[in-house]
Amino acid sequence: MFDFLKIFGGKSESSSEQAHKRLKFVLIHDRANVSPEVMEHIKNDIIKVISHYMEIDQKAMEISLENDQDAVALVANIPVNRMRPVAGHRR
């Protein structure tokens, strides 16, 4: 389809919209930075859940907050050593 809005110089993002997005993003980071303890808690909880199903390399595991253009994601890198035999049999 034709993008008439763009052709006729239609609205680009206003500065207040940009401020809104940038703040939402930076505050997640500010907060995460203030509390590495929270990241540690999250990590431990993830280990607990995943360990039911697979054996993971806890020392090599990494989690972090990462961002692209306009979203923040919790990214986890969890090396798996082997599956547990009980996997899939849990309630």
């Binding site: 206003s14 500065s15 207040s16 919209e17 809104h20 940038r22 703040l23 939402k24 505050l27 203030v34």
Partner: protein
């Protein structure tokens, strides 16, 4: 029952002292017995905004260091006779008052006042700790600017960690800029900080004019900021006051603004 409220912000110059003075006068003119405590030791201003600067004898520092009772340091307002100021020292610095001393003082004052409002200094150091320790809840003042909102969030994190309830005041909003999409509005700031908002105060020349006179703007009937502060007073008293849409100046009003005086 006494209510202790700290007015804080993180970033400096966003309107904490202005908010404290207006809230104090507004509550007092509703018949509440109110004391305003200035904790911006070394940089006091609350006395000026209330027109009380020439009547200070003793200060908060004298009180916490037990040279005088708090009653001797209180300055009573002439017009609002149930409004009192506990000024701080202009020569000492923030380390002159320990948070524990402040807590003891606030506890002792509770039986005498309906509202104890504490004007917090900018920053997150000892001055902040001293101001916040005795408070039941906090008003965080911010401006619709990216840096002020970020600093507000830092303070909000600290207040939440200390289990204080928080309400937000957005000060110095310029309706025309909001309309043009060049300034954050209250809804956006609400969305970013997720706090209950109890006030949106427009940027208003009358605030400066009334500071010059030492008469808080909450009393002037023809000021948009004054009206916003009256609404804040009502909300602090627990009234459910809907937010009015901010008025953008019409062409003629703006013309009058520029040429008329």
């Amino acid at each position: 029952m006494s209510e202790v409220i700290v007015i804080t912000s993180g970033k400096g110059g966003v309107g904490k002292t202005t908010t404290t003075a207006n809230l104090g006068v507004g509550l007092a003119s509703r018949g509440k017995k109110v004391v305003l405590i200035d904790t911006d030791t070394g940089l006091r201003n609350l006395d000026l905004l209330l027109g009380l600067e020439r009547r200070i004898v003793y200060t908060l520092v004298d009180v916490v260091q037990k040279r005088v009772n708090y009653g001797q340091a209180l300055v009573r307002h002439k017009k609002y006779t149930n409004l009192f100021l506990l000024p701080t020292s202009q020569v000492a610095d923030k380390t002159a008052i320990e948070p524990a001393q402040m807590l003891e003082l606030v506890e002792a004052m509770k039986s005498e006042f309906d509202y104890i409002l504490i004007d917090c200094p900018a920053g997150i150091e000892q001055g902040y700790e001293t101001a916040v320790i005795g408070a039941d809840w906090a008003i965080v003042v911010t401006n619709p600017e990216i840096s002020a909102v970020r600093d507000a969030d830092k303070i909000i994190g600290k207040l939440q960690a200390a289990n204080k309830k928080i309400k937000l005041v957005v000060n110095r909003i310029r309706p025309q800029m909001v309309k043009d999409g060049t300034m954050l509005d209250m809804t956006a700031i609400d969305d970013i900080l997720s706090l209950e908002c109890i006030g949106q105060v427009p940027d208003d020349d009358k605030v400066v004019d009334s500071a010059n006179r030492g008469v808080p703007v909450v009393e002037s009937k023809d000021s948009a900021a004054g009206e916003a502060y009256r609404d804040i007073v009502g909300r602090v008293c627990g009234e459910d006051i809907p937010f009015k849409p901010l008025e953008v100046e019409t062409f003629w009003q703006r013309l009058k603004h520029v040429f008329g005086r």
